[in-house]
Amino acid sequence: MDKSNRRWRHLAILCLSILVCQTGYSTASAQSSDFGMLYELGAEKKLSRKWNLGVETELRTRNNTRTLDRWSMGISAEYKIIKGLKASAGYTFLYDNNEEELSLKSDNVRANKWKPSYWGTRHRFNVSLGGNIDWGRLNISLRERWQYTYRPEMADKKYDIDEMTWSATKSKHKHLLRSRLQLSYDFPHWKFDPFANVELFNGWAIEKMRCNVGVDYKYHKQHVFSLYYRFQKVYEKGDENNHNTHFVGLSYKFKF
């Protein structure tokens, strides 16, 4: 079997495994937390020794992968201040499938307002500062990111059960500080680089924690494939993903 055939076979096996995994989770019931998939596609261009430009799109599922949860597209620019210290800024357009919500009256029995799931847009801006140091083949990095998200008002999305009227969901602004600590290891003569990180989402209090464990696979320096597992724990109800979720993520990035 030549190299090309072997690559296709490996890719087909990988896709099939994901489908089986997804179908398995879809049929599973009584899950205390949710499961979803993440698909990411990106490209990065080195403009100069100090500047990098990137674009990225992402698709996310929820409800044990049965429901499309989010689609996003973003652009970012990164500036290398000194060796081991980078600053970056970016914008992301988010198209969310907002989850259904039902609020109860004070007696906790009668339904008050119902918001069926709906697709809506959000705009997200971020500014980051990140530092990293090498300790032998181990790389330790810390990234601090300020994130601002704006959700415009959406008409006729909230149903008042008593009045039988639809009303708009109000526009919302949110500021968050995201802090991520990551460890990665570069094995000699091996194209797989494992990594692990933990990220805290802080909006006056810790709202969410995200842990990733995965592996990067570099092919011909230009192609980077990643496969990772993510666990997201929610401490405080926010705009999205209000329950603990396990994800399996797949990403591909092309470097110009």
Binding site: W8, L11, A12, C15, L16, I18, L19, Q22, T23, S26, M37, Y39, T61, R62, N63, T65, R66, T67, L68, E99, E100, L102, R110, A111, W114, P116, S117, Y159, I161, D162, E163, M164, T165
Partner: protein, 416 residues
């Protein structure tokens, strides 16, 4: 082949992710009761909370407690001696799904709920409501007060007309449709016929709006109005045809005679038209097209008004306003047996296409911003029923019921 396999697997991944994960639907929030009229009896289903009481084919819904949110009542069948009386604290939906109710002693439907009534005429159905010439003594509510019964279809609260089915309301004793709140027609195919023993076509206290649908009103009682509205009248779409044929109603109270003239629309506050079509024909003595206690504003749509009555007790003006009459858009054609436009204030032509024909002269305010022409009796313009009249690029076919020789005419359009 390998690529195809990858594409298929990828497609499968997406297809697997296309399920809605909502736990509820609109049906989960409805409290649905079905009432089928069967001559002198009814068949009720879905009344899990025991809200319904029945006497022959006279049905009372008692939802006067806080747990009856989202009530939906569906009516079907036919009766010649039946009714529906609803007490409810919350807004609810009434679906007319092919029902024919005649109540010789009162309203066919009496809604005592002060909140919104969503009246839906199911698509493809024909529904008829008829009252009698005299009403029996009204019942009392839970607080001992005698309830109102002001028409064949009466509501204490707002009425929102929806659905594309047909509704015919026959008024023989009082108004055809009456609301002590406001009425909004969002859709429907509504016919209101009020006989000489009845009163107005639609009587409403707090405002009337039509956004879409068809509304035909035919009233023949003395002093009756197609629509009598104590607040703002808004024509924002739809197709309306109103005919009144009654003469003036003269009532004597304490030795003083009080005269009430018919009108297609009587509005006690602003009348505004922005879209749709409105056709009014009033043929009785002193019967007006539109009689407004405030301003009349026409910004769009097509309005045709014809009055043909005598002036024995009142003057049959086309448009009469206690405030200003302002035309700023749309098409306005008026044929009047008296003045086409009568106002106690200003008559401004600032836009639109206008042909106003009257037996008497109407005066346009000099500060109008659109050019216009006026013709008086010396110009010998004859407006003959069924014939087309063209002046200054404006053409209108005179309604067959109207003829006026040596008419006073005002013509205006944007190209003058």
């Amino acid at each position: 082949m390998k690529r195809k396999f990858i594409y298929i697997v990828t497609m499968c991944l997406f297809v697997c992710s296309c399920v809605n994960d909502d736990s509820y639907t609109m049906d989960d929030f409805r409290n649905t009761i079905s009432i089928v009229y069967q001559g002198t009896s009814v068949q009720v289903s879905g009344d899990v909370k025991g809200l319904i009481s029945v006497n022959g084919a006279h049905v009372t819904v008692n939802g006067s407690n806080n747990t009856t949110a989202n009530l939906e009542i569906t009516l079907s069948g036919s009766t010649t001696d039946g009714s529906l009386l609803v007490y409810n604290l919350r807004s609810y939906t009434l679906v007319l799904n092919g029902v024919n109710i005649t109540n010789a002693n009162g309203p066919a439907i009496n809604n005592q709920c002060g909140k919104a009534l969503y009246l839906i005429c199911s698509n493809g159905t024909t529904n008829t409501l008829t009252d009698g010439a005299t009403y029996a003594q009204a019942p009392t509510n839970s607080t001992g007060e005698v309830i109102d019964q002001k028409g064949t279809l009466f509501s204490e609260g707002q009425i929102f007309f929806r659905g594309t089915g047909q509704l015919t309301v026959n008024g023989n004793g009082k108004n055809g449709i009456a609301s002590d709140d406001y009425i909004i027609i969002e859709n429907g195919n509504i016919n209101v016929n009020v006989s000489s023993t009845g009163s107005n076509g639609i009587k409403v206290n707090d405002g009337f709006t039509i956004n879409a649908g068809t509304l035909n009103i035919d009233v023949s009682a003395k002093g009756a109005r197609g629509i009598k509205n104590d607040a703002t009248t808004t024509i924002a779409g739809g197709t309306m045809t109103i005919k009144t044929s009654g003469d003036c109603l003269i009532e004597t109270n304490d030795g003083i005679a009080d005269t009430t003239a018919c009108a297609g629309i009587k509005s006690d506050s602003l009348f505004v038209m922005t879209a749709g079509t409105l056709d009014i024909t009033s043929t009785g003595d002193g019967a007006k097209g539109i009689n407004c206690s405030a301003d009349i504003e026409v910004k769009g749509g097509r309005m045709t008004v014809t009055t043909t009555g005598t002036k024995d007790y009142s003057k049959p003006h086309g448009l009469k306003a206690d405030g200003n009459v302002v035309f700023s858009g749309g098409e306005i054609y008026v044929c009047s047996a008296r003045k086409a436009i009568s106002t106690d204030s200003s008559f401004l032509i600032n836009g639109g296409t206008v042909m106003a024909i009257g037996k008497k002269e109407s005066e346009v305010s000099v500060n109008s911003t659109q050019n216009y022409s006026t013709y008086d009796d010396d110009d010998e313009i004859d407006a003959i029923g069924g014939e087309s009249l063209s002046l200054d690029g404006v053409t209108y076919t005179i309604p067959s019921v109207f003829t006026c020789r040596d008419a006073f005419v005002i013509v205006s359009n944007s190209s003058m």
